[in-house]
């Protein structure tokens, strides 16, 4: 499991920049980012090198960041690789709320982040993937 930060922002110029600036000043590396948006606002989701430090830095700058557990794994860069893994989860009735990609260690692989709301199902997903020999990404991998 990885920790993901979710930050609420209004949809206006300069807000993403302000968040990245705070993380930059705190020496934090952003490993993945995803934005869910509506007309008026959005949620910026981040996976960073040091979650605790990032939460403190953001909170010190009047941003509120909530932390969620997400499942992340790597897949090889070849046709059909994502389908094979996602199918394992779908077949087990595990609902993915949202998903985005993460940097792989090298050009021959990609990282995938999935958020499964139900905590029990999320644990089950981890076990299914491990059993199938899928490489799960740990906090140490991205620190």
């Amino acid at each position: 499991m990885l920790k993901q930060l979710s930050v609420f922002v209004e949809n206006k110029a300069g807000r993403l920049c302000a968040i990245v600036e705070v993380l930059n000043e705190a020496g934090i590396n952003i490993r993945a980012m995803n934005i869910a948006d509506t007309v008026d606002y959005g949620i910026i989701r981040l996976i960073v090198s040091d979650t605790e430090k990032a939460v403190a830095a953001l909170s010190g700058n009047n941003f509120t960041a909530n932390v969620f557990d997400v499942t992340a794994f790597t897949i090889p860069d070849r046709f059909g690789a994502l389908y094979e893994v996602i199918k394992l989860l779908g077949d087990s009735g595990i609902n993915i709320e949202y998903s985005y990609s993460l940097m792989g260690k090298n050009h021959s692989e990609a990282g995938i982040v999935v958020y499964i709301e139900d905590a029990e199902k999320a644990t089950e997903a981890g076990e299914i993937l491990k059993k199938a020999g899928v490489n799960l990404i740990t906090p140490e991998d991205i620190a």
Partner: protein, 438 residues
Amino acid sequence: MNYYLKEIECSPRHELESLQSFRLSKQIRHVYENVAPYRAKMDEAGIKPEDIKSIADLARLPFTTKQDLRDNYPYGMFAVPMSDVVRIHASSGTTGKQTVVGYTQNDIEIWAECAARSLVQIGGSKHDYVHVSYGYGLFTGGLGMHYGAEKLGAVTIPASAGNSMRQLEMFRDFGSSIVCMTPSYAISLIEFAQENGFNKDDFKLKAGVLGAEPWSEEMRREIEDGFGIKAYDIYGLSEILGPSVSCECIYQCGMHVCEDHFIPEVIDPDTLEPLPSGKQGELVFTCITKEALPLIRYRTRDIATLVYDKCRCGRTLARMLKPQGRTDDMLIIRGVNVFPSQIEAALLSFDNKATNYLLVVDKANNLDTLEVQIETPRGIISSIADLQKYEKKAKAVIDSAIGVGVTIKLKEPKSLERSMGKAVRVVDNRKIKNKFEG
């Protein structure tokens, strides 16, 4: 039950009324002789000082409004020479000149006594540590409660407003037991305390004396839970005195008016006729002991109800039921009267309570619009679906509470201005436009 001045606070009504009558007739002579604008008003109405013999004659007297104070800015309504004035306060004039008020040494004594009475009413004593976080300065909140706490013999902590971290450290280290501040500042401190690892067990707080702005019962519960205290409403306005014109007792069932100093009335703001006990209308006060600025039948613009039955605490003084708001704060949206406190109560009535909000009124295609800006509660910052569900819920609850359709705008947490004094809850862009147009 503790009292500060039992013979007054629990006096039989008829005795209190004879005291009021005596003081009123004396006061009317004082203002007629010393305040030119009052002499003119009374002459115009054909009333001589000797016509006012008892409180039954009160309704014959002309009203005083804020405009009278502005017209006679700064000292024209004072009833004593400036050499007898020892203190000036002023209220911020957002819509015109400041309102300037003055006090003689005796007025300051009266004020301190009223504030001390308020503190005793809520269970305070000389053994308390009274932490005053109202602003000190021209605003009456800080110095008003300060003098009352000292008069009571309590340990008085003149913290003033601002610097949340220091306030909380003082609560913890100085042993503050009673806090005096605006309800919106209390909310802001509770939020700060939670974010910075303070626990309510770190404090010895037992009560809050909160006023200077209207607040809802729901807000009271938030503050009581947040600090682990009992939160009491206190009322005052600088034109009459400052905080402690009236204050709740431990039963939280209305604010006891210091009727031996101020005669309250409730009038119909349209017909200006006095309304009977239990009817809601505009509050009017007559100062019967003050010397420097003894306003007669001053229209406060606050909406409230007066009741006169004896309280469970034993006091016989009139009780003011929590003002719903000021007529000044009342918004008229598409012909419907809306009080900000109704929206506040609605926002606190369901999960993920939002305590920071701003109402923005505007006009679009000649129709009034009301936008409720809400600082997004932390608990719903997880998915867009949760945010949209919250928006829908907030709209439904507010719409049904006020009978007008609003739009909801979710703002970033901590993006609305934090108040250390009176919170600004309404921005009415219609007024700004009119000013430019007209």
